[in-house]
Structure formats: C-alpha cells, structure tokens
C-alpha cells in the first residue's frame, strides 16, 4: 500500500488546450512547438501546432512564442509553519511556488515546534489539504528538536507521510548519530537530506571566509566547514549502504568530495541553489543583509565549480532553500540578521537570465535540474507525456520584469535579486492537474 506524501487543497481539474507553445521536456526528448490538450487534469493529447480541436468547456491558451516546460519541483523550502506564520504560511508559500512555475515543494522541519512527531505531521497534512495551492511534502527532523541527540520516530513518521528526514539549518554534528539514522533508514526508507557544516569551523561566522570577510571584518565560514562534513557523511553512507542527499552545496571542495564518493559507488546526491549559482561573496560588500544566508555566497571559483557540477550531473538538482524572513528581521546590521533568502519566485528567471542567456548552461539542462528533485524523493518526475498528470509551466522567455517592483506572492520580500530585471515570466502553472497560477498578459503576469 502506498502512502500519500504530497498534499494540497482540492482544486478543479484543468480542461485546457495550450496552442503552439514550444514544448521542452528533456526527458521525453520534446523540443518543438506543439498543441497540448489537458482533460480532467491529465495530459490527453500532444499534437502538431494548430491540429488539436478545442473541446467543449475547455479553455484555449495561445502559446505561440511561449515555452511549455514540465513544472518545477523544489526539494528544499521553508514554509515557516507552524510557529513563524509572520514570515510565511502554507498558503503564501505555495502561492509563491505557483508563481514561480512549481508543481511541488518540500517543506523543512525547522519550525516552532520542530516537525519531529507523527501527530504534528498529521496536523500539517490536514492544513496543507486545506491551504496548499501546489502539492507540498514534508521532511521531518532526523533528531528530536533538531538537537542532534535522539532519533525521531522515523518509521512512524514515514507511515504518516514523511518524504525523508533532515535537520536542515543544522548539521548532524555527531557522526555516530548520523550512523544510527542511516541504519534506521534500512527499516523505514526515506532519504536523509543533510545541511553540512562543522560548527567548530563555522564558529560565529556570518559570511564566506575570504578576502571580502577580511575586508569587512566579519567572521568567516570557511569552505572546509562544509566539505569536510560532505566527505565524512559520504563515508558513513557508503559504510552503511545508506542514501544521503547534500543540501545547498556551496564550494569547490564539496563538489569534489561528492564527485569522488559517487565514483566510489556511494549513494549520494547534491543540490545547488540559484543564488550560489549566480552570486559571489562580492555581493556582501554592500553590507546588505539580503545577501546573508547559510551556506554563504562564496568565491567565483566556487560558483564555477557548482556550475560545472550541475552541468556534469555531480549535482542532480536545483533547490531554492526559499527562506522567508520578515522585513524588520532583516533590516538590522548584517551580523545580526537571520540567515536566508527567498527564492521560489525568482529561481527560473535568474538562472535563465544569468546562465542560459549568456550561454553558460543550456535551457534544457536547467529545466531538467529544476525538475529532478522529485526523483530523489522517490516521487514521479513532472513530465509532458500523454497520460501523465498535468504538471506544466508556461513561460514567456522574451518578457522581462523587475524583481519586487510589484511585491511578492510570498509573505516575505527578502530576495537577493530584488531590483534586478530578469527575463522569463511565468504565464501559467498547472500543478497536480489544476491551474494554480495564470496571467493572460505579460502585465498581469507581473501583478
């Protein structure tokens, strides 16, 4: 019997005919204009442009000049619920996901209280079934209260719908503790997603350790704080034949460690965030707390290593680590500000603008990596194929918009791309067969 692991509010199944959009799905080798017919929330037919008739009761959407992708999947977001609903709620976080072209997101457990018990997971499932605009999955904690000392009831949590487990925001400091979780994984399954840093190396660091932190007199978080833990935990995973996923990789040394352990046969995977792929610690010279997150923005060589890792598949997927904070919480001196930036609404446009348009990475690869997170969690990959549930993102890649100029769907505005003009506007998002975001004109897409 399969356990349900994604939850969303009831919605009317879509009846749509998207005409003539350039359909790009790297996995089904589609990359040409097509008509795509959605009936009862599923893809019913794919045909040559202008060939599919509009059924009664279906909406026609002119897709000419637009791109149709499988909708994106984000394995790493913070929805701040329960306990910090002033930053984000299930409703606003999933609205941001819909606006960003996502059909699925995974919420982290560093809430207040920590998501570390089946009753709390049950309450969140119920809440998601009322409020979530796009499907949400939950990753409870590996250790109770994220304290690093006692395992959560992983088997019961898995039965209650846990996608996997993570202490995100913190590392599992003790190797012995992680080893127990890996052993327990054999019983209950579910990936262990790891936020890697060694607190004895990170200290009270607030940014990347390097020339910029030296200039600003701020305590640095050295790259080796992350990479030594990636290496350690890969070794543990290999020894226990377990499966771990490294969250938000940020530096050369981590990518090298991941590649080496993959080559050695360990079941390890990695993600990178749009901000680590497009920004460096130079941005922190502004002393603007919108550039503060953990792991921190690192050096150009690190950014290049992440891009190379994404290109060659060492890094499987893109995850935003969407981390909303209220304005007043971020409007403090850099060292005092909380870690984290939002990302759901800007992920694709920033990668398209900064990596695809300059020719650094191909469009198809970005689409592939923005949908690959689902498979890591044993979920079906969003795909454009007849019979598949409609998980679609229709984008205007010619249109541009200014980040933040018209506010955000997220409850928080701590975007490190605020004020940037980006190419790529999401015109329509279909998630789990329902229209969750729609803008008829470019102007409305921005509203």
């Amino acid at each position: 019997m399969s356990v349900e692991r994604l939850f969303h509010a009831p919605a009317v199944p879509a009846e749509l005919l998207i005409r003539g959009a350039r359909v790009l799905d790297p996995r089904s080798a589609l990359d040409a204009p097509h008509d795509v017919l959605v009936r009862d929330g599923a893809i019913a037919e794919i045909g040559a442009p202008g060939t599919l008739p509009l059924p009664d009761g279906a909406d026609a959407i002119e897709g000419e000049g637009l791109h149709l992708f499988p909708a994106f999947f984000d394995p790493h977001v913070h929805l701040r619920t329960p306990g910090q609903e002033h930053k984000e709620t299930l409703a606003t976080g999933t609205a941001a996901a819909a606006a960003g072209g996502y059909c699925g997101i995974v919420a982290m457990p560093n809430t207040a209280p920590t998501l570390d018990s089946a009753p709390l997971l049950g309450a969140l499932r119920d809440q998601a079934a009322r409020e979530a605009r796009v499907p949400v999955g939950f990753m409870p904690a590996i250790t109770r209260g994220l304290a690093g000392t006692d395992l959560t009831e992983m088997a019961e949590l898995r039965d209650a719908g846990a996608l996997g487990f993570t202490d995100d925001g913190r590392p599992v400091v003790a190797a012995g503790m992680l080893r127990r979780a890996l052993q327990y994984q054999r019983l209950c399954g579910g990936i262990l997603a790891l936020h890697e840093e060694d607190p004895s190396l990170s200290g009270h660091g607030v940014m990347h350790e390097g020339a910029v932190s030296a200039r600003l007199g701020m305590e640095g978080i050295p790259s080796i704080s992350e990479s030594t833990m990636v290496a350690r935990d890969s070794a543990l995973a290999a020894y226990e034949q377990g499966r771990v996923h490294f969250q938000h990789l940020s530096c050369v040394e981590s990518v090298e460690a991941l590649a080496a352990w993959k080559a050695a046969g360990a079941q390890v995977s990695g993600e990178a965030s749009p901000h680590h792929l497009t920004l460096t610690d130079e941005a922190v010279l502004s002393l603007d707390s919108r550039f503060k997150m953990n792991p921190p923005l690192r050096a150009e060589a690190d950014r290049q290593a992440l891009i190379a890792g994404l290109r060659d598949g060492t890094i499987e997927c893109i995850a935003t680590d969407h981390a909303p904070h209220a304005r007043h919480e971020k409007e403090v001196p850099f060292e005092e500000a909380p870690m984290g930036v939002t990302g759901l609404e800007t992920a694709f446009p920033v990668l398209y603008t900064d990596l695809v348009l300059p020719g650094v990475l191909p469009l198809a690869l970005i689409v592939e990596r923005m949908t690959a997170g689902a498979a890591l969690l044993d979920l079906p990959t969003p795909t454009i194929a007849v019979g598949a549930p409609a998980d679609l993102a229709l984008l205007d890649l010619q249109a541009s918009w200014e980040v933040g100029a018209r506010g955000y769907a997220s409850k928080s505005g701590n975007s490190c791309f605020e004020g940037r003009t980006l190419r790529g506007v999401v015109r329509l998002t279909v998630a789990a067969g329902a229209v969750v975001h729609r803008a008829e004109t470019p102007a409305e897409a921005l509203a």
Partner: protein, 318 residues
C-alpha cells in the same frame, strides 16, 4: 576630485585629496585649539547626535568636544542608558532621533555596516565612529594627521601594524588610509589573528617581528584578554614574548603608535609607552581637531574656517 561625500562611513569614501583636505582643515582647527576661547561658530544652531552602542572613552568624548567647539548642540546617547536596553531596534532609534532634525549622527556600533544602515534611514550626515570589526575611519584620519605632523608626507614610509588584526576595525581603516597616502603597510601578528585574505586590502603579511627594524612607524594594536579564552593565543605571556613591542625591539628611528587603551605589559612594554618615540598622547590630541574637521567638511562645506562671528544664516549658507 570626488564629489563632496555626504557621509563618512569608510576610508573608501575618501580619495587622497579628500583625506588631505580634512587634514588641512584639522591643522587650521589646531590653531584655534591653541587659543583661550576654543570655539568657532561654524555649526551654531545645528544638532549633532552621538549614538554609542559600545563603551568608548576617547572616541565619544572627542566627538562630543569636536561638535561643541564647532558650536553645535550635542545630544549623546549611550546604549546602556537609552531605550535600546528596552529592545528598541536601531531603525526605530534612528527614526526617533531623526525627528529632532539632526545635522549629523555619529554612530558607534558593535556590528559591521551599522553606519551604512543609519545613512539609509536618515537625512542627516552620518559619521562612522566604529562599526564592529569593520572600520573606524576617523581613527585612521587622526593617525594619518599625527604622522603627517611628525614626518611630512607618508610616501614610501614603511608602516607595520602589529597584533590582533582579525578583531581590529582600526587595522582595516588604517591599512586603507596609510596605503592611500603612499605608505607601504605590513601587518604582523600570530597567524590565528591575521584574517585569511587580508592582503587584498593592500598590505603585506609578516608572521614574525624579525623584519620589524625595517619599519619607520610601528603601529601596535590592543590585545584583548578574552582572545586567550577563545584559544586564539595559548597565553598572553607567549603572545608578549613573540609580539610585544618593547625597548629592545624598537629602533631609535622608529615612531610608535597605539589607538588606546593600552594593555601595559602585553602588547606594549612600559618603557616603549613612555619613550619619546611614542605618539600616543599626540594621537588623542589629534582626535578632537580631526573630528572637528570631519564634521565641518560634511556639514559646513569647503569654505575657509570662520574665525569671526557669523550669523546663523551665513553658516547655513556656507
């Protein structure tokens, strides 16, 4: 020439002519300081707020005195006695103070970038009186002023900055300022207290004092007791053995500086502090005139120093 800066947040706000203009202005104020009545009416009717979130003796008193000698009304706020202790945010505090329409806000904060933030939230000119371990630009200016008074131009001079560079905002501002004035800057201290990547500021790094005799100026930083608890150095005794500047290490031709307060017997020996080469008292003295010059440059523009009574209107127009 760079445009007139509205704020002094970092030494990076000033090019060499900008620094020289402030030093020249300070020199003309030094003349006033020699008189019996030490006041000039340049800022009469204008308000200067000193907002100090950290303990400070030299910096706060010299800013206060500088503003008073320019005839400004001065409000000094210390975190320990203000509503900051009731949890008021920096932004709310600044917005409250802005209601008094200050011409300038002088801020000292334990956090890097605090002065930049204040500048974003107020129309007043903002002077950074020390932000975290980031910068302390008026200290650098008064140090350059002190050295220039003694040596003339700094071009080609060797300046060594010795000690806890990692935790020192003075070190960062001074590396930038000394280098901008043409000096060769070397930093030296225990490797645990030299930040990785500091060379990018335009200095050399020397792990020992072996080449200290090359220095024309030895600038010693304060070594705080708590660094020992954080395992940056095994003991102050070992630190002193390797890095203390004392009569044995100091060459007769060298000038000695320290931003204060000094830990006698740790980073400096008593004989070094009391030697005629030490400029420590001159640095403190320079603090007032240099801060007068900074406030004057930001608020009163670039006229000649008014030495006669001016009307408030004329001052406002200056």
């Amino acid at each position: 020439m760079t445009p007139e800066p509205r704020h002094l947040l970092s030494i990076d706000d000033l090019d060499r002519p900008g620094i020289e203009r402030i030093l020249d202005r300070a020199a003309s104020f030094a003349e006033v300081a020699g008189r019996e009545i030490k006041k000039v009416p340049a800022l009469r009717g204008r308000t200067v707020v000193n907002l100090f979130y950290e303990a400070s003796t030299r910096t706060s008193s010299s800013f206060e005195l500088a503003a008073k000698r320019l005839s400004a009304d001065v409000v000094s706020i210390r975190a320990a006695t203000s509503s900051v202790t009731k949890g008021e945010s920096l932004k709310d505090t600044v917005q409250t103070l802005t209601a008094y329409d200050p011409a300038a806000i002088v801020i000292r904060s334990p956090h890097a970038g605090a002065a930049q933030l204040v500048a974003r939230w107020t129309d007043a000119a903002v002077v950074n009186a020390g932000d975290g371990k980031h910068e302390h630009p008026t200290q650098a200016l008064l140090d350059v002023y002190t050295l220039r008074s003694r040596l003339g131009a700094l071009d080609g001079k060797n300046v060594w900055i010795v000690g806890d560079v990692l935790h020192s905002r003075v070190a960062r501002s001074n590396i930038l300022a000394f280098a901008r004035m043409g000096a060769q800057v070397t930093v030296s201290g225990p490797p645990t207290l030299i930040p990785r990547g500091i060379e990018a500021l335009g200095c050399h790094v020397a792990p020992t004092l072996d080449r200290l005799p090359e220095a024309d100026v030895v600038y010693v930083l304060r070594m705080q007791n708590e660094r020992m608890n954080e395992a940056y150095v095994p003991s102050l005794r070992e630190y002193a053995t390797r890095y203390q500047v004392n009569a044995a290490r100091l060459q007769p031709h060298q000038l000695l500086m320290h931003p204060g307060p000094v830990n006698r017997g740790v980073e400096l020996s008593a004989d070094a502090i009391d030697s005629p080469q030490a400029l420590i008292a001159q640095q403190v003295e320079a603090g007032v005139v240099v801060r007068m010059a900074v406030l004057y440059e930001l608020l009163a523009g670039t006229g000649t120093v008014p030495t006669v009574e001016l009307t408030p209107e004329a001052v406002a127009a200056a």
